[in-house]
Symmetry: C2
Subunit: 222 residues, 2 copies
Amino acid sequence: MNQHLQPVISTASSRIYETLRRDLVGGRFAAGEKLAINALKEHYHVGLSPLREALNKLAAYGLLIQENQRGFRVPTLSRAELDDIASMRLELEGMAFERAIQHGDAVWEAELLAAAHRLKRADMSLEKGEEWEALHSQFHRTLVAPCGSVWLLRFIEQLHDQFDRYRRLGPKMPTVRQTLDDQHHQLVELALQRDRKAARALMDDHIQKSYQVALKRYEAHA
Amino acid sequence: MNQHLQPVISTASSRIYETLRRDLVGGRFAAGEKLAINALKEHYHVGLSPLREALNKLAAYGLLIQENQRGFRVPTLSRAELDDIASMRLELEGMAFERAIQHGDAVWEAELLAAAHRLKRADMSLEKGEEWEALHSQFHRTLVAPCGSVWLLRFIEQLHDQFDRYRRLGPKMPTVRQTLDDQHHQLVELALQRDRKAARALMDDHIQKSYQVALKRYEAHA
DNA sequence: TTATATAGAATAATCGATTTTTTAACTGAC
DNA sequence: GTCAGTTAAAAAATCGATTATTCTATATAA
């Protein structure tokens, strides 16, 4: 499901990394909060060494701030950063989607349809939990997967995690969500038709709308 | 000099991280090599815990590959990856430079001239060691610094480190190097004149030429 | 009162040793 | 000779304890 690390074999360190990543993205820690390592150790039933290794990785990934001799903090949120993240998503995901449309083959088309279908079923259940989040991430990953650039995919993944810290600040907004869910299918449509320009335009619009949602939530939150 | 971590206060972990990063970028480890943690411990006179924390961060940063239960390896080099890195640099650094030219203020102009001057003095000494590398990195960072996007700067920094693994595979090539050094000054010129289009074009050419150098070295190496 | 100093508690970083897993060498059956 | 199974050695991951640093509260001096 998640290719953040090859979880073929798991270690305590890789497990707690993935768990913490999800919890950070899902907003289970307050922005700006100082992490109490001992408390984490207890809460997640994990030893100090694997925990610290995971925290170090998360800091390098950008989901934590590390300050020498004073541990780890959850990054604060700001309008400026949200704008930055959204505008980088516009540039990079748009670019990647266009390239994916140029290079994607029949296997990709099938995977796209599959990912969209799985997501739609989750949309309908109206249970927007971790399950939906995973399918949603996977769908967006599939859209850009055959773009041909490993580094572009890596940056997009990172931006998604950052963006979701804002998007997931509040509860779902059914009407906007409906529009966004519909766009997912239209994105697949345009991809299959290889209509690069229209696909790019829709992707831009999709990110813009998501940004509006995230911004509303951020402002309600602050 | 390097803002990879705030080295205001340093810990064993942050020191060994920075040292290893330099050594990885500088090619002091063979591509694909498996890192012998015990040997590293001895060589760098550092304990196991800070060393492992540094290795974890470097893996998250992309300068190492981590495989569960089988430690850390230096990523291999490939033509495809070099192409990817170079084309991402073209996109992102070009974008950043254009934005920097739009937003950079008088302080930036001064810093640009200063960075270019320091680099030129190092160019002339013909000693292309770590000292020159540091000034070169700093110069390129300064070029794009006021682009307005923290995430864009972060990605560019990462791509530079990756690119340098290829560029630094071989010894200097005086004639090409002369051209590239000259371009540094022309980049400053065009930035001061706020000639966005020309600046972008020159940046593209600069990265292209650097890519040619890196590619030659990669092919000679393999 | 304000600022500075300091002791004690809390926390971060690191160390040394242990446990777990992988790798390499060896064995014997086919 | 080759291959599966076994074992010893090596390496990775983790643990428990120690050391170093920061934070907090209190005391003292200007």
